[in-house]
């Protein structure tokens, strides 16, 4: 029996395979495909203080080896999450991280207080959504503002505090260091890249344009994500959760090789809804067949 657990400070997972925010709903939908309780953790869809209806129609478009989304953080709001979704997650024994999206400092602090009061074990601060006008992206692009935000949330929240970083900045190391110095327990990287997807067609002398401006994700972004994790590893002491384009066990190993302690599977959940459970099985089998007893052993070998 191999030990897949991850224990790095407050980041404690039974295995390193998580699913990324916005790609796993509130998990009910995946009961048709996998045993969700087997996952290291599910990161919930972003939760805001009040319900959000999201952006208008035409929210997704496919691009080469990926997609663009502009959902706009549509969610039920924290009150409804706590009353309706939380009991379901708990009754099914699902490990989860709550992804929090505020529109200002006060809202993040308020969300943190609610999480503390409800004994939520881990939260991920969404300071990097590219699809909403005010709020969260500003926090993710300025080291000083982010530092203040993390400090304020830290003061109210004692669980595992993860900060999700945007790649859409000049020097991501500065932002990550600010999070670390302000009390974050881990960072997750990367959120989506800003992009524009377009489909043009020409009929009867007229062009029709289908277009979505938003967050670029999927297999095409993996090299960017690996590059970022590699850079962060040089400067950070807190654990890094790697994500961006992961669609196979091989991808997971690549993220471990550059220093990620755990990973999140995102867009691949759309293409292959049982991919996360498959990767857990493949990783277990790989370790068994090759004599690795713990995940740390595997990670150590990848570094050499």
């Amino acid at each position: 029996m191999v030990d897949l657990s991850v224990n790095k400070g407050k980041l404690s997972l039974k295995n390193p395979i998580m699913t990324a925010s916005g790609t796993f709903g509130y998990t009910d939908e995946f009961d048709d495909f996998i045993d969700v309780s087997r996952l290291g953790a599910v990161v919930t869809k972003a939760i805001s203080l009040k319900p959000r209806s999201g952006n208008s129609w035409n929210r997704v478009i496919e691009v080469t080896s990926g997609m663009i989304n502009s959902i706009g953080l549509e969610n039920v709001g924290i009150e409804k999450f706590i009353s309706d979704k939380l009991p379901v997650l708990e009754s099914k024994n699902i490990n989860f991280v709550m992804n929090l999206a505020g529109s200002g400092m006060d809202e993040y602090v308020e969300l943190a207080k609610i999480c503390e009061a409800n004994k939520i074990g881990a939260v991920e601060l969404n300071v990097s959504c590219p699809n909403v006008k005010s709020g969260c992206l500003e926090f993710g692009t300025d080291a000083r503002t982010l530092g203040e935000l993390v400090k304020s949330v830290r003061a109210e929240y004692s669980g595992c505090l993860i900060v999700k970083l945007t790649p859409n900045v000049t020097r991501i190391e500065d932002i990550a260091l600010a999070a670390q110095e302000s009390g974050a327990d881990a960072v997750s990287a990367i959120n989506t890249l800003k992009g524009l997807g377009m489909k043009l067609s020409f009929r009867n002398g007229k062009f029709t344009r289908e277009q979505v401006i938003g967050g670029f994700s999927g297999m095409a972004v993996k090299p960017v994500a690996l590059g970022v994790v590699n850079r962060l590893k040089q400067v950070l002491e807190i654990p890094i959760i790697g994500l961006g384009g992961i669609a196979s066990m091989q991808d997971v190993l690549e993220f471990f090789a550059v220093g990620a302690e755990a990973v999140q599977i995102g867009t691949a959940n759309f293409t292959t809804p049982d991919i996360s459970e498959r990767i857990i099985d493949e990783l277990t089998e790989f370790m068994q067949n090759n004599g690795f007893e713990t995940l740390d052993e595997l990670k150590e070998r990848l570094k050499s």
Binding site: G22, T23, F24, G25, E29, F30, D31, D32, F33, K45, S53, G54, W57, N58, R59, V60, I61, E62, S65, G66, M67, N69, I71, E74, K199, E210, G218, M219, T267, N269, F270, T271, T272, P273, D274
Partner: protein
């Protein structure tokens, strides 16, 4: 309209694939024995290395064979069109909720309206309802009419008059209502056709079910990529086409 839950990742074998109109194809897929579907439900087919599966209404299901009618529009559908008999199709489904009338014993006279490739799910319903339904459909021209369905459609229009009546199906819709006197209307086609049919049905006080289409990323209700706005008893809310639909009551959709 709740469908029994079960594992939805499926694989099937292509038993037939043929071009049935200009750029339109019929594919038949042999599916697992526990597969059950209703008219109006859809499947999302994995297209080689594409990130997003392509959603298609089920056109028929009999003898463990599922039929899908699709139009070759881009890379994804070109991939499906390139499949051969014996190839494996990886699909998720059946997804969503179908037409309510396809899922119970129904005595209402139902007028079924299809436009273009949207004829597929209403054809499925026609197979279920038999004599209790009348199927009318509009196409751009004679070359766009799927050969496999032509004799099954009770009334056909083409924009250029190359087959059947000349003009849009919308132009003949009220006339069809007066002649057939339906107690329910079910429609699938482009957004504008759905909107106009729903509005006309409402004017005549006839309940109308619309099968909608949107670009989908996940097709299982997770990503919120395919939402439409509904007004249910004055409460405005988003609904996902893939999970809450694709069939909605026309009067509830905020067009």
């Amino acid at each position: 309209m709740t469908i029994e839950k079960h594992k939805k990742m499926n694989k099937g074998e292509v038993t037939l694939i043929e071009r049935v109109a200009n750029d339109m194809f019929l594919i038949k897929i042999k599916v697992a024995e526990d597969f059950v579907s209703h008219a109006g439900q859809f499947v999302s087919i994995l297209c080689d290395n594409h990130t997003m599966r392509r959603p298609f209404s089920i056109m028929n299901f009999e003898n463990q064979e599922m039929s899908v009618l699709f139009k070759k529009k881009g890379d994804g559908t070109a991939y499906i069109a390139s499949l051969n008999i014996g190839d494996t199709v990886d699909f998720i489904g059946p997804n969503g909720n179908g037409f309510s009338v396809g899922q119970c014993i129904w005595d209402e006279k139902t007028l079924l309206v299809g436009a273009g490739v949207g004829v597929a799910p209403v054809f499925y319903l026609k197979k279920v309802l038999g004599d209790k339904a009348r199927l009318i459909a509009g196409f751009q021209n004679a070359n766009e009419i799927p050969s496999c369905l032509q004799s099954e459609i009770d009334f056909i229009t083409t924009d250029d008059g190359s087959f059947g009546e000349k003009g849009s199906i919308i132009a003949y819709f009220e006339e069809q209502i007066s002649a057939y006197k339906p107690e329910r209307i079910c429609v699938c086609g482009p957004h504008i056709v759905l909107k106009l049919v729903a509005e006309t049905a409402k004017k005549h006080g006839i309940p109308c079910e619309v099968a909608m289409e949107k670009t989908m990323a996940c097709s299982i209700g997770v990503c919120r990529g395919c939402v439409v706005t509904l007004n249910r008893n004055g409460k405005i809310d988003n609904a996902s086409v893939c999970k809450d639909g694709p069939v909605f009551l026309g009067e509830e959709v905020v067009w």
